[in-house]
Amino acid sequence: MCTFCIATIISFSKFPSVVMPGCQSMTTTYEGEQHVIAAAQHILKVLGENKSLTDDFRRVLTELDSHLSAMTIITESKRRGFAEVEEQLKCAERKVMRWESNPSLIWDSGPTEASEYIQAVNEIHTVMETLGGLSMNDHGRPKELAFRAQCVQQIAMSRLEEELYHILVQHKQSFELKNISFPSRVDFVYDESFVSVEDEIINDTSQRDNSGRESNEYTVDLIDPLLIPDIKSIASVMFASGYDREFCEAFIGNRKDALDEHLSNFEIQKLSIDDVLQLEWDALSCEIKKWVWAVKIIIRVYLASEKRFCNQILGDFGSHDSYCFVEISRASIFYLLNFGEAIAMGPYNPEKLFRFLDMYEVLADLHLDMEGLFSEVANAFVMSEFHDLLRRLGDSASAAFLNFRNAIALDSSTHPFPRGEIHHLTRYVMNYIKTLTAYCDTLNVLLKDQDVDDPNPVFETDNGQDICTSAFSPMGCHLRSITSALESNLIRRSKLYKDGSLEHIFLMNNIHYMVQKVKGSELRLFFGDEWIRKHNGKLQQHATSYERATWSFVVSLLRDDGRTSLKERCRRFSNAFDDVYKIQTRWRIPDLHLREDLQISTSQKVIPAYRAFLGINSRNGSDKYIKYTSDDMEKMLLDLFAGSSMSLRNSRSNSHKW
């Protein structure tokens, strides 16, 4: 057997380590190759001549075979390219390293600098790709270059991260919260004593918040849009280099900070649930208002903008944009939802109803926005938290509403209300429910399943088409139930008066106030004309009852019963009239029309009887017993219910003050 052959094969099999020792250049390997080729040709010749192989020869050939199959064939072009690759890397490395000693930021130094840097990083990546195509199983030149490229790449990536952070911070755009206004409703303070709720405060309420879905294009630029291509180019090159995690973490961290900062602009106190449950209502109500505003801005404006921004930057890189968006927003969303949870834990005092409704409405209104933001299946839990809170706030609102009715039903006093006037409770309740009409859509949804005992059900009538929808609505039923609780309460209170006449004045005042409130507002739609008619009827009844209670007796004194003398009758009548005058001028009917109506109808009952009495008795020389002329008396009747005690003397000379 040819020993030369075996020696050649052995040296050939060691070829890689022989011809490519460490740093030798490509040109020196060329000569070695020529030898190998000659040797191989010789082997082939020998193999053609022999039919059998020695064990040794077979072993060496097998070794050779395995070597060959393990080797990548370096093509001619690759070999030539290698030098180019090295040059390319050196060039890119110079560009990258130049910035390492430069304290200024690349993206601050101009677009050319930035794009050159990106170009250099891209080149490094290309170099690595090219080198990746070469065999890395050896410790050769390509591998060394690859490691060098890795090092430069790492330096560049760190740098890009830093530049990214700088751009995100430097070009962050804040939007003025003032420019985005969503009307908020008037605050309504529930006071146990029912005092000091003036009508004026309430008058300008009930403006429906109509800044609804029609104008949902609320997105703003959170980052100067001119910088978006730059950020995107950083993203691109970092993703291409396998630094997607670094990019995302830096991006998320920065945007999370920006969101935190934005949230802090709303100056919402950070409260634990424990704190919330112990906070004074006024302070809490204030926090809730801030929350309502913050939730709306954050979800509708800020997060929608953030989502768009994430998409602009990362939309081309698979699901990274939604991953980043969720990571950025999740903690803040939960922070906002947790405050809602704390509020919804109760207690459900009536004064909280409006805030509950505000919170419920803002979330209900943001439902579609939320679906848009967190539509991915993976975010189902965010949506389910959102729905849970919405439901709980709805329940809280219903509970507060029902508690309101109960509070009215249970509210009581042992002292009659002075002068028979309109009770604070009446004012409070009517203004409260008037304000509620602004929330009627929401309340109709929330109260749908709540049973109510409607004492004044509205029956369908042929002429009531336009009002029937509201009047039949759950809200209509509940409102009528509330006023009926109020009426029962008022009747209970009216029994506290010792004077039966004042009982009627009190009820007239209060029912009249209720009717006026209903007639003069949206409430009319919920109560229906039938209710108004019925309550006007009640007013009339009380007027009649009043006249009967006060005047039937007084007038009866004029009647000649055949036993009492004229003089005595005149005296008794005058005394009785003076008593009524003295007492009832102190009573008060604040509504001038109502007061006049009652005075007129009283006159119509008293004056004709008195005139008739005077007419019958004028011939009997009764003049000396007559204290008042009928004109005097008519004028004096106009002093009744003015709420100021008039002395009789004054009243005669100065009889018609009002």
Binding site: A149, S272, R330
Partner: protein, 397 residues
């Protein structure tokens, strides 16, 4: 472990006979029997948690003490106990029974504890978020060192993430620092020293950082635990009838689980956590709990000095691996010795496995804690309603 296996059907375990709960005060024997059953269930559930994992041959099966999946089991146990407790307390009960002293007072104490537990749930949820941030850093380490072969560049890349990971996990919760603070400084602090005015924006972004922490500024997890357990008095003989015992037991269970969560997961202000809560040893149901408490306590003492992100097994292992990988990275010189490379590769593989477990377990754990949150809110509402009804003594239909 699939999520479904972690959700034992608690309804199946409720074996308190409801129709017998209705039994009036007079039925003392029945009540004692129910109480005993309740206690046994509590004891059994916690005993299951202390028993070693089934598969001894595979120590990192994820079932070890204070691991994520162990915590998930612990939270499950809390949910089960709570369900059973509520069943005993509410179902079919005449509300006037629970609105009488001493139960009314004990229940209102219980409600206060529950509210504090809600804040702990929120704080722990935030803590899980910060662990997830550590996980993301560890993933960077893995992806850098998993490349074969790796050179200086990848080692540097890994080192950067590692030092961030270490400073993030070594947060000092006394300072109300959020791990993210540390993370952010690594990422961008590199040029902070030599670049002067150019980077001033980077230095002042600490003021609002705590906002994403879910709790208020001066809130303290340790104080919260203390407040939950301070008025937790052992019922005396005369009181220990009826529902007094279950309220006491459930309070202990809740405080213990919250305490364990606070110990395991980064939380705001935990100093003195150990001293605040002691369960008396005389109760049968408490044995397993006390055992775990002692074990956690020992771990806590070891870690407290160093300042730690918490006792969560995965985080601890991550810290350990991080430390040795930092050493590896510091001493790295190309070409590295095979032995060292192999060692590092093993550590990277372990880190990758931890990341995987975090990826699979942390969000479900967070959602379970949320479930606890909602459950407590619901139960609190129901009990409050019951107390209200009891006051006006209307039986619930």
């Amino acid at each position: 472990m699939p999520a479904t296996e972690n959700q034992p059907s608690f309804l199946g375990r409720i074996s308190i006979r409801r129709n017998q709960i209705i039994a009036m005060d007079g039925n003392h024997e029945q009540e004692l029997e129910d109480l005993e059953l309740f206690q046994r269930h509590i004891g059994d559930r916690f005993a299951e948690l202390t028993s070693p994992p089934d598969n001894q041959d595979f120590p990192f099966s994820g079932e070890s003490f204070l691991s994520i999946s162990w915590l998930r089991k612990l939270v499950d146990v809390l949910l089960c106990c709570e369900a059973e407790f509520k069943a005993a307390l509410i179902m079919g009960r005449d509300p006037s029974q629970i609105s009488k002293p001493p139960l009314d007072r004990l229940l209102s104490d219980y409600m206060e504890r529950a509210v504090k537990a809600l804040d702990i749930c929120n704080a722990v949820t935030g803590g899980v978020d910060s662990i997830r941030e550590c996980q993301k850093l560890a993933e960077i380490v893995v992806s850098a060192l998993e490349q074969k072969p790796f050179g200086d560049g990848q080692v540097k890349r890994a080192k950067k993430a590692l030092s961030a990971l270490m400073s993030a996990s070594a947060i000092d919760d006394k300072e109300n620092n959020h791990p993210r603070y540390a993370e952010r400084t690594w990422s961008f602090g590199r040029r902070g020293n030599n670049s002067g005015g150019n980077h001033k924006d980077r230095t002042n972004h600490g003021s609002f950082r705590s906002l994403s922490m879910v709790v208020a500024k001066n809130w303290s997890a340790a104080k919260q635990i203390q407040a939950m357990s301070s008025n937790l008095a052992v019922p005396r003989g005369g009181e220990s009838t009826g529902l007094v015992q279950p309220v006491y037991i459930m309070s202990n269970v809740m405080v213990f689980v919250m305490w364990a969560l606070v110990a395991a997961i980064p939380c705001q202000e935990r100093s003195g956590l150990l001293t605040h809560f002691q369960i008396p040893k005389q109760f049968g149901w408490a044995h397993a709990i006390i055992g775990m408490q002692e074990k956690i306590g020992e771990e806590w003492k070891k870690k407290e000095k160093k300042g730690s992100a918490g006792l969560l097994e995965e985080v601890q292992r991550m810290e350990k691996l991080g430390q040795s990988l930092i050493e590896f990275a510091d001493g790295f010189q190309f070409p590295a010795e095979d032995e060292k490379l192999e060692e590092a590769a093993a550590q990277v593989a372990e880190l990758a496995e931890i990341c995987q477990r975090m990826e699979e377990g942390l969000l479900p754990l967070q959602q379970q804690i949320r479930e606890v949150f909602h459950r407590i809110v619901r139960s609190r509402r129901e009990v409050l309603d019951l107390l209200d009804h009891g006051k006006v003594s209307q039986p619930i239909i």
